[in-house]
């Protein structure tokens, strides 16, 4: 195998993508040829450095920014209304709070009516006969 042919197969060799006979041929060539061996090692280091590049974290709130962009471009019509289970159902909470407040209001009104102090009233008979005087009962006489 000549240098040129060996170099053409470097990538496939490093990835184990060669048939066994070509694999052996290139190994035999690398054993004899220092130039190709150095080249092969440099390629191996290059690939390992590329694979070792650290992942760059996406910006914070990336997902929220994308959603905002979609909402803006679709004028809020893009997403389907969300399932009640997936969000806080403010309209239901408001309704329940209003109903509770109404119930409490009526209960308070009712309570005021029932505990209103009794105003002492004149006797109905006495009222009809202004001259009558209340006297203690003397045994039915």
């Amino acid at each position: 195998m000549d240098h040129q042919r060996a170099k053409e197969l470097f990538s496939q060799y490093l990835e184990g993508d060669l048939p066994p006979e070509q694999q052996s041929e290139i190994e035999a060539h690398l054993d004899q040829c220092q130039t190709c061996k150095v080249e092969m090692e440099a390629l191996e280091k290059t690939l390992s450095s590329l694979a070792g590049l650290a992942a760059v974290p996406p910006p914070k709130d990336f997902d929220r920014k994308v959603q905002q962009r979609i909402r803006r471009r679709s004028r809020g019509r893009f997403f389907a209304p969300e399932n009640l289970l997936n969000r806080i159902p403010f309209e239901w909470i408001s309704f329940i709070v209003i109903m509770l407040m109404l119930v409490m209001y009526f209960m308070l009104i009712q309570a005021q009516v029932t505990v209103r102090p009794q105003v002492p009233r004149r006797d109905a008979g006495a009222a009809s006969h202004p001259g009558a005087v209340l006297r203690p009962d003397r045994g039915g006489k």
């Binding site: 974290p57 996406p58 997902d63 994308v66 979609i70």
Partner: protein
Amino acid sequence: MDPRESRLIRRLKQRDEAAFREMIRTYQTEVYNLIFRMLGNKEEAEDLAQDVFVTVFKAIDGFRGESKLSTWLYRISVNHCKNRFKYLSRRNYNAMQPLNEITERAMSGRDGGPAMPLQGQVNRPDRMMEGLQLEQAIQREIAALDEDQRMLVILRDVQGLSYQEIAAITELPEGTVKSRLHRARMILKDRLKKYL
């Protein structure tokens, strides 16, 4: 296609916002990294990555599930990158200016702590500087490749996709992907020799 992905796609087609959030969180790192490595600029990468996800939702009804969702996302990302290159080249944008981005990232991690250095953990500052210089050199030389070669190197050697996936993303035959990638690797090898 795996059942979880099928369910996610069905929910996406129903325009379920929670499904959308799930998809972004699953794929944002891959999409953002591909674009960042292609453009070498944080702001451009963020803007374009957002556009990729907007396009996904615009086009989700037309997605027939013939490829994996990730492959489809990558294809959209690649096309967006190409379009952005055309746009930026008209404005004399230089893709070889990513060095400050890398330095800035290396100096401060995501939560204010040190960022993960190149190739594992490096405790010694001199080693960290070496790693940083190497990363800068790699990014500079990736940026100096032509657009197609750069794409292949990033997809295969940085992001570790299979040849089958890359062929599906780029719509090139696998043999063409391999031969173009090999040429790109040999160029990078020669240019990076002094740093390795």
